[in-house]
């Protein structure tokens, strides 16, 4: 039995982005799966729980090259808590690809991050989204979105926001027993309650038993920009969003 062998990877979450610089055969996405299955138990999901090591920032104690990292993954570090594994070398290489992807810059379809940054404001993205302290909190905060999504996923989200909505980004609507309607996003939940950020950016705790009704919509609150942005503008926007890595790597 393994009551806990593997820290789960939520479907589609925290996948690494593509990176043109990877050697043939390296697969950062598969590496992300392996990382969460094999490494994050000790290193943490953000890779920073072992003192002196910050995997997301590619800060290692002794390793510098990809091969150094592969050797450590395969053989461990004697005298420390880092055990050897019996992963095949190509899978260890995928983990390295994932770690490298966390700090690598990404250019999508020749886009320009600076132009994308300007578009982000001009096109009204900040009316719902927040980046590094600017913008609304009603939509997901995108300050680290470059670490969490692949370019093609961001591209899809801009063109077809309904295609793949993360569970906590679904539009939530509830009516309390006194008839008050609440809309927003459920940012956490348990068997008996919802924790919600509503359309006025308030954090609300709702007891299910106190609600007359509640529902989730599989439609995104975000409009499609398919006919509102040119392909080049979308490339700029995605390139900008991909530059938004996890805050501690800046």
């Amino acid at each position: 039995m393994r009551s806990i062998l593997i820290v789960t990877l939520g479907s589609g979450l925290l996948l690494a982005q593509d990176h043109a610089g990877f050697k043939s055969g390296q697969d950062a996405e598969a590496g992300a799966q392996l990382f969460f299955a094999n490494c994050s138990n000790c290193h943490g999901v953000d890779g920073a729980t072992v003192p002196g090591v910050d995997l997301a920032r590619n800060k290692f104690k002794t390793a510098s090259t990809d091969d150094d990292l592969i050797q450590i993954i395969l053989k461990g570090v004697p005298g420390t808590g880092m055990p050897p594994t019996n992963l095949p070398r190509d899978l260890a290489s995928n983990i390295v690809a994932y770690l490298r992807s966390l700090v690598a810059p990404t250019v999508f379809n020749g886009g320009d991050a600076k132009r994308g940054h300007d578009l982000f404001t001009i096109k009204g993205c900040t009316n719902c989204h927040r980046v590094l302290g600017t913008g609304s909190r009603t939509g997901p905060d995108l300050s680290e979105i470059g670490s969490m999504r692949k370019p093609k996923e961001l591209d899809e989200s801009i063109l077809d926001p309904d295609a793949d909505i993360k569970p906590n980004n679904r539009t939530f609507k509830a009516v309390t027993r006194d008839g008050t309607t609440i809309t927003g996003r459920v940012i956490n939940r348990d068997t008996f309650t919802f924790q919600v950020i509503d359309s006025k950016e308030r954090l609300l705790m709702l007891e299910k038993a106190e609600l007359r009704e509640f529902s989730f919509s599989d439609k995104s609150a975000m409009p499609s920009f398919k006919d509102k942005l040119a392909p080049a503008e979308i490339a700029d926007l995605v390139t900008y969003l991909m530059s938004l890595k996890r805050m501690d790597s800046k």
Binding site: R2, N188, T191
Partner: protein
């Protein structure tokens, strides 16, 4: 018999002080534990594994008046999986990984602590945890993650003997609460993810000397050995993770056996791989195999039979039969004749896609291929199963079997070979899109389609679902039922709840903010019934407010 001790009520403000004869916990008392429900003498409360108590002071009408009486904070950040024992007002718990602590059951104050530091060779695959102690006479027994069995004086926590049962360096580890049968202490060894050869072994309670050993993988010349090609039997796993049960009439002790290794790479171990994923019935005096029943032949999904065997006597199609109830990690519920091992009935209790059902002998009719392919294949339930080590409960009053279940959990299994090296992970294969396993942070960001926890109440005779109580997150909590038709359970989202055992309606809940990953239990001291459970790093005792 020779001990005369002061009762724990010394510390209980306002209570009278009286000398209490500390009776030895004879095996006869353990055998008849239901007659003294104020105590909790074994992991499951009794030897039949029911986790059912005759205490009835707390009722469906009064349960909403429960309040916390005391809390004990563990000096450990590991999962708190212990089921406390209570004997005459003294509570005995383990603190992960391998400390034993004696508490006053009325106040939670500590009498003594025995701190054991396991060898650095210890490598339990899935948490440095422990599920509790056993008692016989005035001696406590703890199984450790470095594969020692340790006997302690229950009065002062001093070690009496310490027996090495297996090679910790090669992955042999113990996390279970031992089972006392007569004058023996029975344990099983974990390590199925490290290529061990599993066993169940009995030790003399007085001396710690091994009396018998049953290997869960038959050696050359033994029946069942032919189900392992070549030398695969040497590293075939088949570990034991959870305490067994005992039937005194048949003098049989029953144990669930874990998965074969490598877990997800089965092509080199073609065959049924006995006695992995079996329940084995052993003669309690000799360890000789009387019968076995295999739930998952040639398992490639980690579907260990890692559950407490639940024994119940009931009328079955016109005659009284001795039954064993089993909700397996593979998603099927089984009823067996526990004297012979005959399969009587079985049905899925959760979403199952790897098999379309059970045949007339209880063998699964597989849909999925015998071995994962090089292309990932999605299978329900996932490798953590439709249930796991968390104790179920059976109430003889309701006739219902209560399963702490997971539904909708799944994973994409993909083949990958692995070479055996001593002490190294030996699981093989790759898992993908592992929707619902361990939650890494406090926020639940998953849909129900990716897995949820649920208490499923099953008619023990028909296997039909009678009611269910769904949770937002998964559950690793066991279930306790009582003679007042209460059901207590916890959840990973940090609630401890009381349900009506008859219809599943929620009667009371309390938010305690930590994962409840143990089996709740109940006891009575100074005339008051308590319910105890651990959540996060704390152990709580609740009782009715005056």
């Amino acid at each position: 018999m020779k001990y005369l001790a002061w009762s724990g009520s010394l510390l209980f403000a306002g209570s009278f002080v009286a000398p209490v004869l500390r009776a030895q916990v004879s095996f006869d008392r353990i055998l008849n534990a239901n007659k003294e429900p104020q105590n909790w003498l074994t992991y499951s409360g009794n030897l039949n594994g029911q986790r059912y108590s005759e205490l009835a002071q707390i009722t469906p009408a009064s349960v909403s008046n429960l309040e916390m009486k005391w809390a004990f904070q563990a000096r450990s950040t590991e999962k708190f999986e212990t089921t406390p024992l209570v004997v005459e007002g003294k509570m005995y718990i383990t603190q992960a990984p391998n400390d034993v602590i004696a508490l006053d059951a009325a106040t939670g104050r500590t009498f003594w602590a025995y701190n054991y530091t396991p060898s650095t060779d210890a490598r339990p695959c899935c948490g440095r945890v422990n599920r509790g102690v056993a008692i016989l006479g005035n001696t406590l027994f703890m199984a450790t993650i470095d594969s020692h069995l340790i006997a302690l004086d229950a009065t002062n926590g001093h070690p009496i003997w310490n027996t090495v049962t297996g090679n910790a360096k090669a992955g042999y580890a113990m996390t279970l609460s031992p089972l006392v049968v007569k004058d023996k202490v029975i344990v099983g060894v974990a390590g199925g993810e490290y290529g061990i050869r599993g066993y169940i072994a009995a030790y003399d309670a007085k001396t710690g000397k091994e009396v018998w050993r049953f290997y869960t993988i038959p050696g050359p010349g033994e029946p069942g050995h032919e189900t392992w090609p070549d030398d695969t039997w040497k590293n075939g796993g088949a570990p034991v993770w959870v305490t067994g049960a005992y039937d005194s009439n048949a003098n049989l002790t029953y144990w669930g056996v874990g998965n074969p290794g490598p877990d997800f790479h089965g092509s080199e171990r073609g065959g049924d791989n006995l006695y992995s994923d079996c329940v084995v019935a052993l003669d309690a005096d000799t360890g000789k195999l009387k019968w076995y029943f295999q739930f998952t032949p040639h398992d490639v999904y980690d579907y260990d039979a890692v559950q407490v065997p639940v024994l119940a006597d009931m009328e079955w199609k016109g005659r009284n039969r001795k039954i064993m109830l089993w909700a397996n990690r593979n998603g099927f519920y089984y009823a067996l004749d526990r004297t012979t091992g005959e399969f009587l009935n079985g049905k899925p209790f959760s979403t199952v896609t790897w098999a379309k059902g059970l045949d007339e002998r209880g063998r699964p009719m597989r849909i999925a291929a015998d071995n994962p392919a090089s292309n990932a294949q999605r299978i329900y339930p996932g490798p953590l199963g439709a249930t796991n080590w968390y104790s179920p409960s059976y109430s003889p009053r309701t006739g219902l079997f209560y399963i702490p279940a997971w539904d909708n959990t799944h994973a994409d299994f993909q083949d990958a070979p692995v070479e055996y090296k001593e002490g190294k992970n030996y699981t093989g294969g790759v898992l993908k899109n592992y929707g619902a396993g361990i939650r890494a942070n406090q926020v639940l960001d998953r849909k129900e389609e990716d897995g949820y926890g649920v208490v499923r109440a099953i008619d023990a005779k028909t296997g039909d679902r009678k009611w269910e109580f769904k949770m937002a997150d998964l559950t690793m909590s066991g279930i306790l039922t009582t003679a007042s038709d209460l059901l207590f359970t916890g959840s990973r989202d940090g609630y401890f709840s009381a349900l009506d055992a008859r219809d599943g309606s929620l009667l009371w809940k309390v938010s305690v903010g930590g994962d409840i990953a143990m089996g709740p239990m109940t006891y009575q001291v100074n005339g008051k019934q308590y319910v105890a459970f651990a959540a996060g790093s704390s152990l709580f005792a609740f009782t009715l407010r005056p």
